[in-house]
Structure formats: structure tokens, C-alpha cells
Amino acid sequence: MISGLVQILLWQGLGELVSHFLIPILPGPVLGLILLLVFLILKGHANSSLLAISDAFSQHLGLLFIPAAVGVILFLPQLKAHALAVITALVVSVVLTITTTAVILRLIARKDSNDP
């Protein structure tokens, strides 16, 4: 697991360097993710320590954004003032997103199966 963590940290570092010097519009960790993904696809498999660390992270991903999310207490007056707008936007948007994605997938899949 430690060797997996070292690998991840190295990719993160590489991502930060690429972000800083070449592609500043993309965050370092996202570039690290993309670089590691390309590496895994080229290599054809992921080693077990990498699998172990990524399982550990994805199981408790939620824990890691708690410190930032607690910052919502600083925005409470602002959110209260616009509560109706925020709630409407979030609810309608999630309903439309699920609907659009599902309907488009069904349309394309149906068209494909009609073709000989």
C-alpha cells in the first residue's frame, strides 16, 4: 500500500509540474490523473499496491472534502438570501441531466439495434 501511495504522490507531483509549466488551465491533480490513466492504458495493467491505495481512497473519498465543505458556514447568510434560487437550480438541473442523458442513450442504442 505504501508503494502505491508513493506512486500516486509521484504522479501528483508530475501533474503539478505539467500544470505549472505547460497547461495552467488544468489543476495539477487532474493532470496527474490523466497521466496515470494514460500510463495504465499503455501498460495494460495496474499493480496490486496501486489497486489497494485507490480502493482505500475511493471508499472514503467523502471524508477528504469535509474540511472544505464545512466552510459553508461562512456562506450561510448568502445562501439564505438566495435559498429558493439555489434549491430550484439544483433540483431542476439534476432532473434534466438524468433525463437528457438517459433519453439520448436510449435513442442512440435503439437506432443502433435497428441497423442491420
Binding site: P29, V30, L37, F57, I66, A89, R106
Partner: protein
Amino acid sequence: MIREQPQIADIWVYLSGSPLFALVVTLAAYQLGNLLYQRTNKNPFANPVAIAVVLIALVLYLMDMSYQKYFEGAQFVHFLLGTATVALAVPIYKGFSILKTRLIPLTVALVCGGVISIASAVGIATFMGADAAIIGALYPKSVTAPIAMGIAERLTVSPTLTAVFAVVTGILGAILGSFILNLLGMKAWWQRGFAMGVAAHGIGTSRAFAVHPEAGLYASLAMGMHGILGAILIPLLDFYIR
């Protein structure tokens, strides 16, 4: 008794000044949230992150501790967010073999879903008079929270608001998803799962896995693709719109 009072106060001052306090509160609140989530059979209403945030906010309020002070300690947890983002490459890689068989329909559906997600949220919030800070933070809200926060930093909007909107979106998607998909008469598990992943990232994916393994697999693929495409396209989109 009287002599012990200042001693306890001294210890208290010492502990609340070190990172230990914020770390313990963060992990304990998450542990409690997770326990409730498991006890309620992974009911989306009992989201562990939402529970933890409310509990920590209460503790800070009761102790009269500022958010800045709390974050000084909790930043050690926060730092790992970037590392966890890189680690997302592994589950995306696992989903990659199924992506190859349905690359075009999945990509088209993802892009359309993503565009609708942004257009509807930003459109409604603008129309209803929300301020610029809130509207900006809505752009990446359907992207998985760790990546969404990275995007928010690039858009120079609040990562905190983005994280909160992303978590609420995930919870809403997990609660409403099955209902909407039934109403639409969606039958194929892969289509249902993918729609959940595009709209409601990690929380929707966890819900999809609870419903059907094939749905879960496609939901996690959708979440990964949305994360990568979102990180590339949302800053560009924002650059041209604003």
C-alpha cells in the same frame, strides 16, 4: 475542585490550538455519519458527508471556534484530496474496457447531459437573481467533488460552495434518480447507471451500485469521464461565456 479548573482550561487551550482537535472532530464526525449511513441501509438522506458537515458546524458554533482555526488543523485531511483525485485514475482505468464497446453513445450522452446540467443550473440561478459567487460555483456541480473543487479554483469561484453544491446534487440525484428513470420507462441497467453517474457523480454511483452491479459499473465510468471532460471543458466554456 477550584484548583483543577484552570488546569483543565489550560489543557483545553493547548489541545484546541493544535491540529489534533480539528482532526479528531473531522474523523469522528465522518465516522458517525458513516455509521448512520450503514445503519439506514445506505439511505441517500443519511449522507455521511452531509451529516459530518452539520455536526462539525455545530461543534464549532458551540465552542465558538472560527472556521479558519478549524481549517488550520483539518488541512491535513484536505491536502489528501489532490492525491485521491490522482487515485481516481485506477477505477476509471477499470471501466475503460467497457467504454471501448460503447464509446460513441456514452460520450455523446455525457456531453449532452453535462451541457444541460450547467445550462439549466446557471440559467435558473441567473433568472432567479442569485449572485455571481453562487452562479459561478454551480458550473462544476455535477462533477465529482474533488475534481469540481479543482475546477472551481481555476474559475476563481469558491471551492467550498462548489463542494456543497456537488454534495447536494449527489444526494438529490440519488434520491430522485430511480423515480425519474422509472417514469421515463428506462429498462437497460447500463443506461440507467450511466445517467446516474453523469448527473450525481460519486453519491449517485454508490446508489447505482446498491440497485444493480451493471448500473454501478456504468455510473462509475460516467463519473470518471465527466470528471476528466469537465476539468478540460468547463474552464474553456467559462472563459468564453464570462
